[in-house]
Every structure is written in structure tokens, then in C-alpha cells.
């Protein structure tokens, strides 16, 4: 029989996360504490769930228009105007997608010609690189550094640009590092993008979760709205991961092509989720504040605890991850995570799952209760002390 597969797909490595998931799942051990989850521990606020239920009761079980409910797109525009000071026309500059992930995929497919280069700052979320490959683009990973708090530095970006560079992925607030880009950090990046005429896919899925500082979108800089695809969604802010709902905003000329792919591949995002999302945007600000305050408390606890046990941990100001450094222990991230799981039954994700530059780091999620975090960090500390003793560190 001939090979049923296309060579492009076969070159894509399976996600490093998946490998770890399998190890944990095989253990079948109730005592395992996982700090490896990339989704909120809160349930979707009840009034939002209730709106979803109500829409089912009312029999709203039909397709919506391809780009999504007009009502929802209008609320998205209001939300972005209120929170990020950018505005999009709900008629043809906003589309509702199946999670932010779909938006990432179709943006790449709508924009890349074979050979176009896409700069991807790493460590980062796992899907950008495969999406570029699937869209026939050439991924250009750019290793961010801890000494810069994993921010994208202008000189680094400048050095990575070639005549073939078409797109920059800007994933802030960042999963896995928790790093953010402030207005001041973004200003020189915007200048470079304009100077070299490159477009930006700005994945702002964690925009609602910044601590002590407001999120800024690169689309709000003069000359950037025209060249930015802003991606956001409901998963992280409103604890709605399972509803699979995100959105993309972009100038009409780009969005209408993305919509074409969406139309043929997806048709429309789930209708129940869209009605629930309208309620989230209208009446959900307080829920977000409440969850954010909780995350912030846990964030302080983890940064304090890791630094105290001698694993350097820079203070992240976004998302719900800390990214402590384990270089001092003379182990790879992968070995550390595997051994930790075996010895102390704590699951964390090695930084390398998010790109080679994650070597030497661990992604620790704080989407867990403080009690769980306390127990888990006690176990991690015991493990770290044992490693130090064995190695005479």
C-alpha cells in the first residue's frame, strides 16, 4: 500500500505536552498532583452557563452566520474599545472562531505564501509553529531570554528579520512564561514592524489576566491597526475553555479571506457558546476581577515559594503561569519533570515543551487552589533538596 500520509504532516513533531500527559495518565495514581494544566480551575460563572442553557431551552440550535452572531460581534467591539482602546467594525472586521486556536490557524493560512517566514518568539504556546508549517510558511523561532523577563527585545527582532519575513507572532501575556509586553516594550516593536512592512498576529488570549498593570495591544499603536490580526477569546478570562470560543479582528481585506477558510472548514462557531459569550461580555467584568484577584494571590505565593527554595523565578505579570529556573540542579527540564513525577507525584510541564529555549525551566500553572499549591510546592522542595544532596550542590 502506498503511504496514505502527506510528508508535511509527518514532519510535525507531536506536542511535548502530549508525551507528558501520557506518562501521567499511565500512572493511574490518585495521589498525583498536577500543576500542568493550561486552563482555569474555576467553573464558568453561573450566569453565563445559565444563558447557554436558556439558549438551548429557546431552541436556538441553528447555525449562526459564518462570522458569528452580530450581537456578539458588537459586544466584542465594545469590549475591545473599553479595555484595549481599539475598535473594529462588527460588520466585516470581527469574526467568531472555535477558540483562539482556530483563529491562529486560519490567519496563517490566509496570509502565507510558500516560503514566507514567520518569526515566533519562544518559549510559546505549542500551535504557532505547526500552523505555520501546515500553511507552507517557514517558522523562524526566536529564543527569548530570562534576563529580559522573556520579553521580545527590539534588537533581537531586528536581527531575525529577512526580506522573506512576512509575519511576527506576538504571544503576550505569554504561555508558558507569564511574561507581558507593556506599552513601552511594544513601541519599538511597532516601529520595526512598520519599517520592515511585516504583519503581526497578536495572540492576546490572556489579556484579561495581567497583574498590577493594564494590557496594551500592539494594534493600538499608530500604523499598526492596519497590519495586526488581533486574536482573543473567552477561555481564559471567563473560564470557558470547553465552550471553544474565540475571535479574530483584522482589517477587512485580511478578515474576509480568513472568513472564507472558516466558512468552508468550520461553518460557524457553536451557537450555544455564542449566546453565553454575549452574557459574559455584558455582565462578566466582576467575575473576571474576582478570578484575577485569586490568581494574583496564588502568583505571589508561588514566586515567593520558588525563590525561597532557591529556584530562581522572575516575577511574571500575566497569564497564570510561573516559569522557575532549574539550571542550578544540573538536570534537563525533561529529566526533572519525569523524576519529580516518579518520586513526588507532582506533574509539571518541562519548559522544552514550548520550544528549545525553554530548556532549564518548568511551567507551573497556578490554576489550582492555594491548598493544592502548598502541598505540591512542599513536595517539589523535598525533591529539590534531595537532588542537591545527591549531587553535593
Amino acid at each position: 500500500m502506498r503511504n496514505p500520509l502527506c510528508s508535511k504532516v509527518q514532519t510535525i513533531r507531536p506536542s511535548g505536552i502530549r508525551k507528558f500527559f501520557d506518562i501521567v495518565a499511565e500512572m493511574h495514581d490518585k495521589d498525583v498532583i498536577s500543576l500542568g494544566v493550561g486552563e482555569p480551575d474555576f467553573d464558568t460563572p453561573w450566569h453565563i452557563r445559565d444563558e447557554g442553557i436558556y439558549s438551548l431551552e429557546k431552541g436556538r440550535t441553528f447555525y449562526t452566520s459564518n462570522a458569528g452572531l452580530m450581537e456578539l460581534k458588537e459586544e466584542i467591539d465594545r469590549y475591545l474599545t473599553r479595555k484595549c482602546h481599539v475598535s473594529y467594525d462588527p460588520a466585516d472586521e470581527i469574526m467568531v472562531t472555535v477558540g483562539g486556536s482556530e483563529a491562529i490557524d486560519i490567519a496563517m493560512r490566509a496570509m502565507l505564501d510558500p516560503g514566507d517566514e514567520v518569526i515566533i518568539p519562544e518559549p510559546c504556546y505549542v500551535s504557532y509553529l505547526p500552523c505555520v508549517v501546515l500553511a507552507d510558511g517557514v517558522p523562524v523561532p526566536l529564543a527569548l531570554k530570562e534576563e529580559n523577563q522573556f520579553k521580545l527585545m527590539p534588537d533581537q527582532l531586528e536581527a531575525a528579520i529577512t526580506p522573506k519575513t512576512k509575519l511576527l507572532v506576538l504571544p503576550f501575556p505569554n504561555n508558558p512564561t507569564g511574561s507581558i509586553m507593556t506599552k513601552e516594550d511594544l513601541a519599538p516593536i511597532a516601529e520595526i514592524c512598520i519599517k520592515h512592512d511585516i504583519f503581526v498576529i497578536s495572540d492576546e488570549i490572556y489579556s484579561a489576566l495581567t497583574y498590577g498593570t493594564e494590557h496594551t495591544t500592539i494594534a493600538s499603536f499608530p500604523g499598526m491597526w492596519e497590519r495586526t490580526i488581533l486574536i482573543n477569546g473567552f477561555s481564559k478570562a471567563y473560564a470557558m475553555t470547553g465552550w471553544r470560543l474565540g475571535y479574530a479582528c483584522a482589517p477587512k481585506v485580511i478578515l474576509e479571506q480568513m472568513l472564507k477558510i472558516h466558512q468552508f472548514a468550520i461553518m460557524c462557531a457553536p451557537t450555544t457558546s455564542q449566546y453565553a459569550a454575549v452574557e459574559a461580555l455584558r455582565n462578566g467584568d466582576e467575575d473576571v476581577e474576582m478570578m484575577k484577584e485569586s490568581y494574583n494571590q496564588r502568583r505571589r505565593f508561588l514566586v515567593h515559594t520558588f525563590n525561597k527554595m532557591g529556584l530562581d523565578c522572575f516575577e511574571p505579570f500575566g497569564a497564570f503561569y510561573v516559569f522557575p529556573c532549574i539550571r542550578g540542579l544540573g538536570m534537563s527540564s525533561d529529566d526533572f519533570a519525569t523524576e519529580l513525577l516518579k518520586e513526588e507525584k507532582v506533574a509539571v510541564v518541562p519548559g522544552t515543551a514550548f520550544g528549545d529555549s525553554g530548556e532549564g525551566f518548568l511551567r507551573i500553572s497556578y490554576a489550582y487552589s492555594l491548598e493544592e499549591l502548598k502541598t505540591a510546592t512542599e513536595r517539589i522542595e523535598r525533591f529539590v533538596n534531595k537532588v542537591r544532596k545527591e549531587k553535593g550542590l
Binding site: F21, V37, G38, D41, S127, R300, H304, V349, L370
Partner: protein, 163 residues
């Protein structure tokens, strides 16, 4: 009230067992400042006590909880407060609220048996001079108390590792 005190309250309202050390860490404040703020709030009775929410159904102890609507004639120059005092001073009484609407006081109390509660109402509460009528409702089941859902928690179905 300063911002730190309000933050302390919002944390310990849900978790009064948290240590001062942890409280200081999660709020990003100094331990000594947090201890001082709690001391002050205990002194001025902003913090009135530290209680435990118990699901008594899980124990062998028999208890009956009643909610009683009490209508009264307020007393000249003393209003409702004096009457409320006469009710809340009974150690059997757990909760007394002054209400708007069809009745005046909402009184909640717990007793060992139905009979014990009934006797208290008929002999002590109803016989108070200004009480004109009472309506007693017995609690059949507690689903949620002080913001805590009492049904057994379902196991989380969240995946253990996700991107």
C-alpha cells in the same frame, strides 16, 4: 477602612485557617502589617469570630433547625433594638435579622429535637410582650450555607496536563 484590610477580609472570609505568614505572602504585604491589621479588626469587632461550617448530617448528632418569622409591635422610644436584644440573648437563638416586608424579625435557631424547638417558641418567644405572631418553618435540608455548597464535591474532570 484601608484597602489592605478589605483584602484580608475577603481572603479570610473564605479561609479563616490561613496562616498570617501565607496571608502576607498572597497579599504581597508585610507579615507584621497583616498581623496588626487583623488585631485591629478583632478589637473593633469588624472580625466578630472564626467559625466552622459543618454539615451536621454527616455526624450522628441529631439537630433540628428552624426559621421563625416574628411579628412584633415596636416599643415607643426603643424601636426594634430592645426587642431584638430580648430575643438574641436566648442562647438557643443563632441568628436574628430585622427584615423589611411581611414580618419583622427573622430568627433562626437549632435544637436537638422538634419538641425542644417547639417548646422554646411557644413558651419563650411567643410569650414576649410585644410579639404578636410567629410562623415557624423547619429546615429540611441544607444545600448551601455561607456560600459553601454542602453536596459532596464532584471529582474534577479537568485533564491533568493541557497546553
Amino acid at each position: 477602612m484601608n484597602e489592605m484590610k478589605e483584602k484580608i477580609l475577603s481572603v479570610i472570609e473564605k479561609n479563616s485557617k490561613i496562616s498570617i505568614e501565607d496571608l502576607a505572602i498572597v497579599l504581597g504585604e508585610k507579615e507584621s502589617d497583616v498581623a496588626q491589621a487583623i488585631f485591629e479588626m478583632e478589637q473593633d469587632k469588624t472580625i466578630c469570630g472564626y467559625h466552622t461550617i459543618i454539615n451536621w448530617e454527616k455526624t450522628s448528632r441529631e439537630r433540628v433547625v428552624a426559621l421563625i418569622e416574628v411579628c412584633v409591635v415596636p416599643q415607643r422610644s426603643r424601636g426594634f433594638d430592645h426587642l431584638a436584644e430580648r430575643i438574641y440573648n436566648f442562647p438557643e437563638v443563632d441568628t436574628v435579622y430585622l427584615m423589611s416586608g411581611a414580618y419583622d424579625f427573622c430568627v433562626m435557631l437549632e435544637g436537638k429535637t422538634l419538641r425542644e424547638v417547639s417548646i422554646f417558641i411557644s413558651e419563650k418567644l411567643s410569650t414576649l410582650e410585644s410579639v404578636t405572631s410567629t410562623a415557624t418553618h423547619f429546615v429540611l435540608k441544607k444545600y448551601k450555607d455561607h456560600g459553601t455548597i454542602m453536596v459532596p464535591e464532584q471529582k474534577s474532570e479537568r485533564q491533568l496536563i493541557t497546553p
